[in-house]
């Protein structure tokens, strides 16, 4: 059954766009069912989602890229055509995006200004990359500093989606010693609803899922304390990892190519940060559900957590100290020994002094006592 055959088509809506592209209602409902499941919504919500999305106007989206590596864009564009993720691009009007838009220079900036004007208070602002506060010259677009562009564009936004760990938490640019003075979107914008979709990069379907939620409900999904949607970031990778039973059995790979690694045993000892990383990698996976880092033999590096870059080596187990070394302990033992010698010397001196002043009781003393 095609949308064009039965569903009511309202001009200028997403439904019209889908109909023009020949997307069937069955396909669209299947897509909405998948999204509903990913967002942890009841199955019955799929129909409501389909209804809401198809009647919605194409959402104007402005995508700003600051101090970033374009990995987030790479991720969202590598959703597999013609998979359902691509439909999201039919649901939104991507009015500004450096990498994806055809326009450049003044024309590109004009597109942004026009979108801001036409959709004032309604457009969705997506940001990837951190914002340098150290010097505006560290990162500019068309001569406009990242900070100015963010503040200007955020003013008329209905909501902001901070895509990637750099935009959400500062990410790699903010890693010690943070040479550019990088901060996250949330550190600057305080008066708009912000949803963080961290990851380096985030999973494509997580980004599209959040957009679909916004289109369906006109608001942001339930979030955790770090502003991440709970439906995707509600559980740790460790708790949903297919290798978890090996952790419980105490079976661990000792190196990346030993027999245990080939058997798929737990990668905890090789530095996996899955136990403290909240993300959906173990469930939604990557590359059209093909795999995720742990499945391909490498431990999780915890990229969706704030300051993961400064949280110790990627290849040291979580229970290992970040900076303590055996030589540090040896130094402490030497200090303890020196202090012990000093105290022993003091104790013996005290003992010797007491002995020196000690007067033995004599017979005369006893005699006097008797008197």
């Amino acid at each position: 059954m095609k949308i064009t055959q039965k569903a009511e088509i309202i001009p200028g809506t997403v439904g019209e766009g889908l109909a023009q592209r020949g997307v069937t209602r069955r396909e669209f409902l299947q897509y909405c069912s998948t999204l509903a499941a990913l967002l942890a919504l009841p199955p019955a919500m799929a129909g409501a989602m389909a209804e809401a999305i198809s009647k919605a106007r194409r959402q104007s989206v402005i995508w700003l890229s600051f101090q970033e590596c374009t990995g987030c864009t790479e991720s969202i564009t590598r959703s597999h055509s013609p998979t359902l993720e691509n439909l999201i691009f039919d649901l939104i009007s991507l009015d500004y995006h450096h990498t994806l838009q055809a326009a450049s220079g003044e024309a590109a900036e004009q597109a942004r200004m026009q979108a801001m004007k036409d959709n004032d208070g309604k457009y969705l602002l997506i940001v990837d990359g951190s914002i340098p506060l150290g010097n505006p010259g560290y990162s500019c677009i068309a001569g406009i500093s990242n900070l100015d562009m963010l503040v200007e564009t955020a003013k008329g936004a209905a909501a902001i989606v901070a895509v990637g760990t750099c935009a959400a938490f500062g990410g790699l640019p903010m890693a010690d010693p943070n040479p550019t003075g990088a901060v996250s979107v949330g550190d600057i914008i305080k008066d708009k609803p912000i949803i963080n979709v961290p990851g380096c990069p985030p999973i494509p379907v997580v980004m599209t899922g959040v957009l679909a939620h916004f289109l369906t409900f006109g608001g942001l999904p339930e979030m955790d304390a770090l502003g991440r949607p709970k439906s995707f970031y509600g559980e740790t990778i460790h708790d949903r990892c297919y290798r978890r039973p090996f952790y419980d059995q105490g079976k661990f790979a000792q190196s990346f190519d030993d027999e245990a690694a080939r058997k798929g045993w737990c990668l905890f000892k090789l530095g996996c940060k899955g136990p403290v990383t909240y993300n959906a990698c173990a469930t939604t996976k990557w590359n059209d559900g093909t795999s995720f880092p742990i499945q391909s033999g490498h431990g999780c590096i915890g990229c969706s957590e704030p300051n993961f870059w400064d949280a110790g080596s990627f290849y040291q187990a979580l229970s290992m100290p970040v900076t303590a070394t055996p030589s540090m302990l040896a130094g402490a033992a030497a200090v303890g020994a020196a202090a012990g010698v000093a105290i022993t010397w003091h104790n013996r001196s005290t003992k010797a002094a007491a002995k020196a002043v000690h007067e033995k009781v004599t017979v005369q003393d006893l005699t006097r006592e008797v008197k």
């Binding site: 136990p275 957590e305 229970s319 055996p326 033992a333």
Partner: protein, 219 residues
């Protein structure tokens, strides 16, 4: 400060300082104890008792005849607690990784479920021992602040470790940080409290066994 930042601090600077204080404290106190020294005993030993000190180290780990029946809570609780703690500290895979990183030594680990059970047993034993301490008039009279402090700082790492593993009360990262802080508290308190018996117990048993052997008292 996010929970991961807190964990990084717990695994970083906080752990460094706790370890430094712990190692300095242990070495210092051992020097202090051995440095006290005794005058050489010039008297002829009353009985010929070679190995008396070594025997006592073992003998005092076994209840004297009749004592197990007379005070089962103290003995059984003591055994269960100490063995549970031993398994939890030395046979949980993440803990072995810690020891390996600090000493280069490592050994096989137990399945996590067994370690979990040993932690539960140790905590139950600690609870029973505390109840016994409070209910027994003699024990209560003998107990002071140091005893309750030792009990608390020993329980906390077990409790927080158990809660972190089972995702109780707080989310895992925060609970794991609290677990590390509780371990660091234990490391700092241990050298300067009754918990120093971890290092001195066998030294003092050997000394007592040896000196009593010389004086003709059976070990």
């Amino acid at each position: 400060m996010t929970h991961l930042d807190l964990l990084t601090f717990a695994r970083g600077s906080a752990l460094n300082w706790a370890l430094i204080i712990f190692v300095i404290g242990i070495v210092l106190r051992l020097f202090e104890i051995f440095g006290l020294s005794r005058k050489a005993d010039l008297a002829t030993p009353r009985t010929h008792s070679p190995g008396s000190g070594w025997r006592t180290m073992l003998a005092r780990s076994i209840p004297p005849p009749g004592m197990l029946k007379r005070d089962p809570v103290t003995y059984i609780g003591g055994y269960v607690f100490h063995l549970g703690l031993l398994f939890a500290i030395f046979f949980f895979a993440p803990h072995i990784e810690f020891f390996r990183s600090m000493t280069g030594l490592h050994w096989p680990n137990l399945p996590t479920a067994l370690v979990d059970a040993s932690v539960v047993a140790a905590m139950v034993a600690l609870g029973m021992l505390l109840a016994h301490r409070l209910n027994n008039p003699v024990k209560r009279m003998l107990s002071g602040f140091g005893d309750y402090l030792a009990w608390t700082v020993t329980l906390l790492p077990l409790l927080t470790g158990y809660m972190a593993y089972h995702h109780l009360l707080f989310e895992y990262t925060l609970m794991l940080s609290l677990h590390l802080f509780s371990v660091e508290l234990l490391l700092v308190v241990l050298p300067f409290s009754k918990l120093f018996h971890t290092f001195s117990v066998f030294i003092s048993r050997w000394y007592n066994g040896d000196i009593f052997g010389r004086k003709g008292v059976a070990s």
